[in-house]
Structures are given as structure tokens and as C-alpha cells.
Symmetry: C2
Subunit: 207 residues, 2 copies
């Protein structure tokens, strides 16, 4: 068809032919531009999610580090003591609390180390591999932090209420300040868990 019209309109000026060529070339050009136009808001949306990701990671570091420090730095010494024994409570009396401090420190360290990967996701929102790595490690950290928080929570509950069936007395009647600090640390740890869960879902959304 196009060849036919060229032979019929042989009297046209070269200028108009030059004007026609771009017209024919236009459709493929516009089709190669369109995806870019459609991608632009999607890329901006992904970049927004990636920035939110970094902000949440910083919040997670604060919560995890707060939980670890609150747990590790709390100790209470009772004002009375016998000749051989002083009544003192601190986190390494209970293995669950020691695990809690270790797990929350690991989570805080991981979150700090994952920020560079998250920044890579801001700079290059289309990369998939860093996101998969982040989802995998975030999920592992959700499990680690939740196990620590759950373990500490059940010990804190026991410390507050005791258990008559197992003959375990409530120790918070004596160590009330210690128990309050420990309860706060557990709450902070559960906050970290929530942040990590939101991170996993955000990364899934970005994919």
C-alpha cells in the first residue's frame, strides 16, 4: 500500500516525503515511550515503599535496641540481706531473659546492616534479588524476635502471678521495679515484631 502511494504521488516535494516518514515511524516510537510513561508512577510508588522501608527499619532498630538495653541494664537489689546472701535480680538469672537480650541485639544489628540493602532498593526499585533476600531474612528475624518476646512474656507473666499448681511463687511482689522494666522490654520487643511484619508485607507489595 505504502509503495503504491509513493508511485502515485511521485510529484510530491521531497519535503512532504520527509514529513511522511516520521508519521510512519511514529507508532513504534510512541509504543516504546508509553511503557516508560506507565512505569514512571509505578517506579515512584515502589520508591516510596522503599523509603518507608528504611524509615521502618530505623524504627525497628530503636525498638529492638531499646528492648535489649532495658532488659540488660535492669537489676534490682533488695534493701535487706542476710549474712551470706543478698537478694538481687537481674536478667541473667533467667535463661529466657538472656536469650531475649541476645535475640533483640541480633535483630537490631540485622536491621542496621539491612539498611544498605534497603537503600539499594530505593536507588534501583526494579531489582528483585535484594527484596527476596530482605523478605527471607526479615521472616527469620520475625521468628527469632517473636520467640524471644514470647518466651520472656511467659516468664514475666509467671513472675507477676506465680503458679500454685507448679509451686512457683510470684517474685514481682519483691522485685517490683525489676518486673516493671522487664515488662516494658517485652512490650518493646513485640513492637519490633510488628515493625518486622509490616516490613515483610511491604516488601511483598513492592514485588
Amino acid at each position: 500500500m505504502e509503495g503504491d502511494s509513493a508511485t502515485i504521488h511521485i510529484t510530491e516535494t521531497p519535503k512532504e516525503r520527509k514529513g511522511k516518514a516520521p508519521l510512519l515511524a511514529t507508532p513504534p516510537a510512541s509504543s516504546s515511550i508509553k511503557p516508560v510513561v506507565q512505569k514512571a508512577p509505578k517506579r515512584g510508588y515502589k520508591r516510596g515503599l522503599a523509603i518507608l522501608d528504611v524509615v521502618l527499619r530505623i524504627a525497628g532498630i530503636a525498638a529492638a535496641l531499646g528492648a535489649a538495653i532495658a532488659m540488660a541494664s535492669t537489676e534490682e537489689t533488695l534493701p535487706f540481706f542476710t549474712q551470706f546472701f543478698q537478694f538481687q535480680a537481674q536478667y541473667d538469672d533467667l535463661p529466657a531473659f538472656t536469650f531475649f537480650v541476645i535475640a533483640n541485639s541480633i535483630t537490631a544489628a540485622y536491621l542496621a546492616l539491612s539498611i544498605p540493602i534497603s537503600i539499594v532498593c530505593i536507588v534501583r526499585p526494579h531489582l528483585v534479588v535484594p527484596r527476596i533476600i530482605l523478605i527471607f531474612l526479615d521472616t527469620v528475624m520475625v521468628a527469632l524476635t517473636t520467640a524471644a518476646a514470647g518466651g520472656a512474656a511467659s516468664i514475666v507473666y509467671l513472675a507477676h502471678n506465680g503458679n500454685s499448681d507448679a509451686n512457683w511463687p510470684a517474685i514481682c511482689q519483691q522485685f517490683s521495679d525489676f518486673c516493671q522494666a522487664v515488662s516494658g522490654a517485652v512490650v518493646a520487643s513485640f513492637l519490633t515484631v510488628v515493625v518486622l511484619m509490616v516490613l515483610v508485607v511491604l516488601s511483598a507489595f513492592s514485588l
Copy 2:
């Protein structure tokens, strides 16, 4: 350029012109076929992941249900008793164990209910919304099950070893069968957690 060649080769037969036209039209045609060819194995890969998803969910139901039943059905009555009191241990003596039974039952029920959504992902591997829903709910279930398993684990540890600082005696010396069954339930629950974590990462891979 193309218009020029048409005016120069004006003496060519229409046959050869016809032969040329498909040659010019070929690139867009092949580029529209290629993505279909590339999509075919990707869809098969996604379908394979979706089938693995369903299999893992069934394994998760078995583990979670096993953990809940093992914990709920275990009780031990000691062969000696006083006139007013009989020594008996069962899961609802300890709130952490009660939470464990409830959480694992919820997880088993959720996994059973999520199988239809997972089957939708087998039938239509390109759908994104069901996968996002599954990732979100799976992550919530990871947290719930891990909190329950961690809480129960720290109580089981306490039951085995006791704690001299808090003056909590080890009860497993008396209730050894109960402690063994409970430990098994905790291990089964952690297996459920691993299955759920693999499910989250699998869903992320599919996206």
C-alpha cells in the same frame, strides 16, 4: 530511506514487493510472540511453586494439629496423694500452655482455610491479590505460632531445670511423662513455624 528504495526499484515485480513487505513486518510480529514463549515456562514454574505451597500447608496442618493435640491431651496424675490433694498436671495449669493450644489450633484452622486460596493460585498463577493476602496472613501466623512456641518453650525449660534465683523448683522430676509430651508438642510447634516461614518465602518468590 524506505520510500527512496521504493522509487528506485520501481521495475521490480509485485511478487518481490510482496516478499519484502512481510520482511519489514516481521520484527513486531516476532516481538509479540516472544513474550508468550518466555511466559510459558514461568507460568509452569509458578504453578509448581503453588502446588508445593498446598503440600506445605497440609504438612503445616499436621504439625500444628499434632502440637495442639499433644499438648491438650497430656495429663499426668501422680500415684500418691494426700487426703485433701491429688497431684495432677495438665496443660491448663499453666496459661502459657493454654495459649499454646489455642494458638496452634488457630494456625491449623487458618492453614486448612487457606488451602482454597492456595488452589486458586494453582489454577490462576498470574493472580497477585491472593498471594499478597496469603503472605500477610502467613506472616501473622508465623508471629502467633512462634510466640506460643517460645512461651511454652521457656516454661518447659523452667519445668525441666527450675530456677534457684527465683526459687522455682523443677517439676519435671515428678511429672516426667507430662514434661516429655509437652516438649514434643513444642518441637512440633517450631516445625509449624519453619513450614510457615518457608510458605512466606515461597509466596514472595512467586511474586
